[in-house]
């Protein structure tokens, strides 16, 4: 280490004194001792699996017969497989349905809640309730709500629409549950962002005669840009991996693969009947690469555009 790291225990000068080397060694020993368990955990359960999944993607394995090295055959297979192409497309459409709606609704709710109305706390809490609950359980609840016979939604509407088994309706129905469960969470981020806007700025604008609409467009929205970006990126990343509630609502990929998002395809390919663990691993690697790309773009954006400090 050549440069002093801010926020460390001892100033660099101490190291120049006699006996400092020993103390430094003791400190390093302590550090590695403290890091030991998590280092083992992270190496074994997060780093090693990435290597194993890469290895598996080069093998044919159906669980029952011995693993067989087949080079890039799985890769060629999945990249030309219309079912996997469909899953990528379904995932992208799912993300495009969920993210804009939940972001706009979250912003609207945050704006309403930031008016300082009495009882705002109550609403804040209520809106976050679905977000705390197990997505799997919520998926099962909504499966009943959507049921064509005896389901709540059709009973309320007086219809017998087959929400989850009609290809054109299944994905919107699943996306609606996503939005329903996450919108309160998104709203809280916008609320925090709104609270961080200095009140003098808003007051000055009001005194200058700006209308609420002008204040929103010209002041609040630009200042909320970092929050918006954060909400969009985290939302995209988590929606790309969505599985639990989609599986509960439409197991097996839904009607005509209409809700066969990547996560569900990986599960089906590996454990849901086909038992092509190699192909599923290749798909998992594709998903991982996609998410890394999204994250890296996010990092670039954050570095360039915004000075948003989470801590």
């Amino acid at each position: 280490m050549t440069t002093p790291v801010p926020g460390t225990v001892r100033p660099r000068t101490v190291a120049d004194r006699p006996g400092a080397r020993r103390r430094r060694r003791v400190e390093a020993a302590w550090a590695y001792g403290l890091l030991g368990p998590s280092l083992i955990g992270i190496s074994l359960f997060l780093v090693l699996p990435i290597l194993v999944v890469l290895w598996l993607s080069l093998n044919h394995w159906d669980l029952l017969s011995p693993m067989r090295f087949i080079g890039l055959a799985n890769w060629i297979d999945i990249l030309t497989d219309p079912t996997f192409g469909n899953s990528l497309a379904v995932t992208v459409v799912f993300v495009l349905m969920v993210i804009p709606v939940q972001t706009v609704l979250g912003l609207v709710i945050a704006l309403l809640l930031s008016r300082g109305l009495r009882g705002s706390w109550f609403f804040r809490i209520v809106y976050v309730v679905p977000w705390v609950c197990a997505p799997l359980a919520l998926g099962v609840v909504w499966k009943w709500i959507y049921a064509p016979f005896g389901g709540a939604l059709n009973a309320l509407l007086g219809t017998s629409t087959e929400w989850l088994t009609t290809p054109a309706l299944a994905l919107p129905a699943v996306a609606a549950v996503s939005i329903w469960s996450q919108v309160g969470y998104v709203a809280l981020f916008f609320l925090a962002g709104l609270a961080a806007i200095p009140s003098q700025v808003l007051e000055a604008a009001a005194i200058d005669g700006a209308s609420p609409w002008q204040i929103f467009w010209s002041i609040k929205l630009p200042l909320l840009l970092p929050t918006t970006f954060f909400v969009l990126v985290t939302g995209v990343i988590s929606s790309f991996q969505a599985f639990d509630h989609i599986w509960a609502l439409t197991p097996g990929g839904g009607p005509d693969h209409a809700t066969d998002v990547i996560a569900s395809r990986i599960y089906l390919e590996a454990f849901g009947g086909a038992f092509h663990l190699g192909r599923a691993s290749a798909m998992a690697v594709v998903l991982f690469v996609l998410l890394v790309v999204v994250t890296v773009i996010q990092q670039r954006w954050f570095a360039k555009r915004v000075t948003y400090d989470l801590s």
């Binding site: 669980l63 009607p255 005509d256 089906l268 009947g273």
Partner: protein, 448 residues
Amino acid sequence: MSHPLSRRTALLGAAATAALTAAGCSPAQQSSSASSSSAPVTVTVRLWDDQVQKAYDAGFAEFSKANPNITVKTTLVPWADYFTKLRTDAAAGNADDIFLINGSYIQPYVTGNLISEIGSDFADLRGGWSQAAIDQYTFSGKLYGVPQLTDGGIALYYNKDLLAAAGVTPADLASLTWAPGAGAGDTLLPLLKKLTKDANGKRADEAGFDGSKPAVWGYNASQDLQAIYYNFIGSNGGQFQDSTGKFVFASDQSAAAFQYIVDLINTHKVAPAASNTNANGDFARDQFLQGKIAIFQSGVYNLKNVADGAKFAWGIAPLPAGPAGPVSVVNTIVIAGNAKSKNPDAAKKVLRWLGSDGAAYIGKAGAALPAVTAQQQSFTDFWKAKNVDPTQFAKQGELKTLPAPSGANYGAAFSAWKPIFDEIFLGRTPVADGLAKAQEAANKAINS
């Protein structure tokens, strides 16, 4: 400064953790046992049918009296998950010592050496087993599995009350015929129309019938391999799989059979919409038991469920005949020994017992027709005492039959055609196009 997480609490937490994990306690877990010869052992048996489970449990209680060192525990895994769970479990060494398996799925377990051969230790029992079953489960001259349940053929369960209300007599069901496109000689469709009723009380053969508001369905036409479409294919002279294992269900005869079933559901609306039945194999049975389906085509495997669940008078009639006569799928289910079992000797004892006296309990409880021929009488006796005549299933099994599908990677083939079949039955994919697509996908998957 307060110290909410002092060293003491941290230690307490650690101690609690240690205690919990040391106990490793799941309330559902039975105490595991060592496998030395004299120590008590537990042999676990996995199955998918709760009627058979009840019968086995009664039998194993007796077995343990005679073999006090062996406890046998049954595990029920629902049919919908059975073969996916079995595979992930077998690969990880979590499969039970003994498990039920059928001809469609057994092949990879044989080639992967995951189930043990039923070899010379069982030689004295083989003579008592159904020969068809032995043939079905012999691979390269070796038998893998002790024959357990014979499904016989498929037949019709009917609700006498619903028949009477529609002015139909059981005799009308005795010689039903169907013809592709409901053409000349088709007596099935007119009968089903008579039996189907909407919420306003209109019958399907009356003007103003509204199929979107069903009250009673005539029939359980659905995507049910064993009970429905296999038999329609067979009775139209078609095949599902040829003798080399290639799927040929897109042939003209088979396509006409599928078209007939799909029309019953979507055009004539005499059966529940496929959205109810595609993913839920028990929907039709439950609706029949609730008095909402008049004729329920199924196998002997549902006899006990019908007898226990039906609160109405019911009967059994023969399968409708097609241009090629009445043709039914037949199937036998075996129970296999896990090659990786930790208690192979005890498991063998249990298997031997199931291949002899033990099979009586399935018959005695009326749960299924045992494939151990000496014990089949117990099944007939049970139902005779209840005034039920199950011989129709056996009779059907003796007529023209089709073997159940099978293959190296049947599971993959099934998951390849299933989503396409779903669309066909929902009426959204034209039958011929869908079958061609499904056949190609299934043939690609079966050997991969």
